[in-house]
């Protein structure tokens, strides 16, 4: 049942990415191209998403259990630290180079584009390098 619910959420999320244009690197890079021909669309996507998620989370937060009777796993609010900032910077470089982040990249797999498949393969490698390497040194951060 949880798998079905999650599948549905993934579909809605993916459709949102497609409809908003976020699966197209050109739309994302158009926003990031602040000093060029600027396309504010991504900002509208964020604002719209937050306008639903912020009040939505407040309402859901009043519950003690999820609908499927599980715990509500709100991530613990950790402090800003150097590792997180370095990670954000590295992510920003990759995102600025290609204009894809994990969600759109995964949705785009359905297009069977070789470049997308390559990007996702590299992304998975990046995830594994972090999770295996830092696991060995005993410091996996899972937010």
């Amino acid at each position: 049942m949880a798998a079905l619910a999650t599948l549905l959420c993934g579909i809605i999320f993916g459709v949102g990415l497609i409809v908003s244009g976020m699966t197209q690197p050109a739309k994302v890079l158009g926003f990031l191209d602040l000093f060029g021909t600027w396309d504010p669309s991504l900002a509208v996507v964020m604002a719209a998403a937050l306008s639903v998620a912020a009040p939505g989370y407040i309402l859901v937060g009043r519950r003690s259990r999820s609908v499927l009777d599980g715990d509500l796993q709100w991530p613990p609010k950790r402090a800003v630290n150097r590792r997180m900032l370095v990670g954000a910077a590295l992510f920003g470089i990759g995102w600025g180079l290609v204009g894809l982040c994990p969600g759109p990249a995964l949705s785009n797999l359905a297009t069977l584009s070789p470049k997308v498949i390559l990007f996702v393969a590299a992304m998975v490698c990046g995830v594994l390098v972090h999770d295996r390497w830092l696991t060995r040194t005993g410091a996996v951060d899972d937010a």
Partner: protein
């Protein structure tokens, strides 16, 4: 160059935010794709089945959209194969190190008014903008 599409951006954004709320309401989880992906590929994951379901859902989106008659837009990725590999590695590794990506931090984290997510978003936005400024204008790419 892509043009401003506020209406579809808003509709898509509502779906994204809505799916995040729905995921928390139904299953009690945060819709952070990098974390979900990491969990989905982690071995020995009986508890990871839901994560795989989310990823499958993401991949099913295009086929479902295509069923409505809308043409599938094959994404145009910039750069050489090397750039794509380097970009992918950095996105995957960086997101894990940061504890989230655009969905986990910029949407879910900011929705919870998390200072950490605000900081993460500010950093990756600024860096990405700088990278695009360099590649598009300084290097003439």
């Amino acid at each position: 160059m892509a043009s401003f599409t506020p209406v579809s951006a808003a509709i898509g954004g509502v779906l994204i935010g809505g799916s995040a709320v729905l995921l928390m309401l139904l299953t009690g989880r945060i819709a952070g794709v990098s974390g979900i992906l990491a969990g989905a590929i982690r071995p020995g994951g009986g508890a990871g089945a839901w994560r795989l379901a989310f990823v499958v859902g993401l991949i099913l989106a295009w086929p479902l959209v295509a069923l409505t008659g809308r043409e599938v837009a094959v994404p145009q990725l910039p750069g050489s194969w090397i750039v794509i590999v380097v970009g992918g590695l950095l996105v995957g590794f960086g997101a894990r190190l940061a504890g989230g990506c655009t969905s986990g931090h910029a949407v879910c984290g900011i929705a919870r008014v998390s200072a950490r997510s605000l900081a993460a978003t500010a950093v990756f936005m600024t860096v990405a903008i700088a990278v695009v400024a360099v590649t598009h204008h300084l290097l003439g790419a």
